[in-house]
Amino acid sequence: MDIAFTEEELAFQQEVSDFLDEAWPEEMRRKYSRNALENFSRDDRIAWQQRLAEKGWAAINWPTEHGGAGFSHTQKYLFDLELARAGAPAMVPMGVSMVAHVIMKFGTDEQKQEYLPDILHSRTFWCQGYSEPGSGSDLASLSTKAEDHGDHYLVNGVKTWNTLGQHADMIFCLVRTSQEAKRQMGISFLLIDMKSPGITVEPIITMDQPKEGFQEINTVYFEDVQVPKENLVGEEGKGWTCAKYLLEFERGNAQSPGLYESLNHVEWMARETQSGEGAVFDDDDFRDRFNDLKIQTMAMEATEMRILGSLSAGQNVGPESSLLKTRGSEISQAISELAGEVAGYYGIPLDQSTPLDDDDFIPAGPEHFSGVSQKYFNLRKTSIYAGSNEIQRNIMAKLVLGLE
């Protein structure tokens, strides 16, 4: 056993930290910590991702042959840690962490050449078209149709819970190319240009009420959208295989660095905020509950170290990823709940500020409380999306405990 980092690892950590000082300066940090929701603008996000790409750090889960960073597990962990400390956003995952893996595994050489470099350098903004109205966690019940029209598919249907589609250049979709008895069959994996005629994007307003244009999710409508046949990834009817493969990448990242950062922020707020004779943080009961969450996070960190650390590069996390997803979402929700408690009455005002330069929104109370409740509302999603925590528990019951 060894808890210490090697000199090389510490040097790497310093390198990341130095890079962030420059690439994500205090100014950006302030801009985005104005509101707990941290709605990034498209331009800032792309500029930042391109900086990461220049440095060679955009694709930390890619093999080096495609331009991956080639990080060890410890380096990944340290990278996440420093990112969280600097308040810098992680890469938008739909391109670099999702569709790219499917293209690498199932795509043709032409597809790899066409898409991967643009993903790596954030020249193409990707979004995902999986869920449909009514499908919920039951993905295989999808009904968006792609009919074979010779050189192209004709796509009709509706995709929902589409993240950041308003910014996207491309969408990867699960579509039904034939009707089979077993629902997972007959599904194909298609790449579609978002500028294709027949596509419309409609925002879904979530309960945290982001400002117009800053919604996190959308519904995407496809009406007689023509998609060239060469945009099919893998075999027709084998889209479910792609989807399952991709899911393994969705939950593998270390969450404890971000959780620690959130805890530090809550601690800072609770030390700043008066209650009775002292600060909120001086209240025994508050501090006990805070520390309980911190200890939960330590146990989470240790679990990440054990699970992630035991994998050799390229290996996928097994059903234990369900544990990390479940606990990570529960802890992050609890932290946001505690933040709301610190805010007190200042959790009540609605913050609709944006990071745009011409925005003159003035928060009602201290800036650090802006959007704190909205963050709490927003994070309810984490136990619902990417396979709800109920689905994760079903998976663990079946695959880990052998219960059916």
Partner: protein, 378 residues
């Protein structure tokens, strides 16, 4: 020992219930909150006509002489509709301070117009540094001539944008956290020296931050004796606490019942959600949390019928803890079981969740009341 409603109270209940059902659908509510002033003047007039605004006032003041049970019955139904009309800010809080602390003259000046629906009010009592401690005040009222000059800052004053009058807590003597020296003043909301920063709240209400800069008021602005306002303020806040608890019980009822109904329709993996045992047991926990909260609400009301004594205070504080926990559990589970749909602004469920979340942070959160419960005698 009897926790049931009498005939008159049952009548109020069914009348409000009918109003919510017929005139206050979620779509209608959403239209109201989308436009200024954020509530419906028409509805407010209806409330006045139906006598609802008269409930808590004594017959002497032109009211119906309700004891708390009647307000509870009204607000429980308001909770079921997440009604945004400012009944609590105006009638329970601002007018409550006048009802409890005002002279005959002061009551005459305000209460009839409030009952008639002509006046809106707001209670400006919270300060940023004071959190939930009513006596922690940096706002001051200094004697000048036979009146006072008010200087200070008040946080998150609900209904202030629409208010015609304000009731303000200010320190006429003592230092920041003394319990003596707190006074209440009622004044025109448009008095010179008052400036507001208006905003919308996460639960679709309107509120303001208010700065008082050399606001001059006459001697008739003082409610009760100078320096002895804390008792009345505490009672008003307790009545407000009881009111939001009644409202929250209505919200929790909808949160749990809508979730159960949704689970009967919604299918996943070819099965109705409601047939999954893990969800069934969690919905039972929601039901139990609701049922017990409602019971404690009614028991608290019964104590209030006996008067605002220590037992009543202790029950109100216990109720806030119970409701806070129940609303959090039921709210979070309602969203979770609704899944993606629960996250949207489109479905009403998230609006109930937001309302109960705000209520949890009002007048002292769970932990504040747990400590207060321990400190109260009895």
């Amino acid at each position: 020992m009897d926790l049931s409603l009498n005939d008159e109270q049952s009548l109020i209940q069914s009348s409000v219930e009918r109003f919510i059902l017929n005139d206050y659908t979620f779509e209608q509510r959403q239209k109201i909150v989308a436009e200024d002033p954020g509530y419906s003047q028409e509805h407010w007039t209806t409330f006045a006509e139906l006598g609802w605004l008269a409930i808590p006032f004594s017959e002497e003041d032109g009211g119906l002489g309700g004891t708390g049970v009647e307000s509870m019955v009204l607000l429980e139904q308001f909770g079921r509709g997440i009604v945004v009309e400012p009944f609590i800010p105006t009638v329970v809080l601002a007018a409550g301070a006048i009802r409890l602390g005002g002279s005959t003259e002061q009551r005459k000046r305000f209460i009839p117009d409030i009952i008639d629906g002509k006046l809106q009010g707001a209670l400006a009592f919270a300060e940023p540094q004071g959190r939930y401690d009513l006596h922690d005040l940096t706002t001051t009222a200094t004697a000048k001539g036979d009146g006072f000059v008010i200087n200070g800052y008040k946080a998150v004053v609900l209904n202030a944008p629409a208010a015609d009058f304000l009731v303000v807590s200010a320190r006429t003597s003592g230092s920041q956290r003394d319990t003596d020296g707190v006074s209440l003043f009622v004044l025109d909301a448009r008095s010179a020296g008052i400036s507001r920063h208006d905003f919308t709240t996460v639960d679709a209400m309107r509120a303001s931050e208010i700065t008082f800069e050399n606001v001059e008021v006459g001697p008739d602005a003082l409610l009760g004796a100078a320096g002895a306002g804390l008792a009345a303020l505490q009672q008003v806040i307790d009545e407000g606490t009881f009111a939001v608890c009644a409202e929250a019980v209505g919200c929790v009822e909808v949160l749990y019942k809508d979730t159960v109904e949704y689970s009967k329709i919604r299918e996943q993996f070819g099965q109705r959600l409601g047939s999954f045992q893990a969800l069934q047991h969690r919905m039972v926990d929601m039901f139990m949390a609701y049922e017990q909260s409602r019971s404690l609400l009614y028991m608290t009301a019964a104590h209030l019928e006996n008067g605002y004594d220590e037992q009543a205070q202790k029950h109100i504080t216990a109720l806030k803890v119970q409701i806070g926990k129940a609303a959090k559990l039921v709210g979070q589970e309602a969203i979770q079981i609704h899944g993606g749909m629960g996250l949207t602004d489109e479905l009403s469920i998230s609006h109930y969740f937001k309302r109960v979340t705000v209520i949890e942070n009002m007048f002292g959160n769970n932990r504040f009341h747990l400590k207060r419960f321990g400190a109260l005698a009895g």
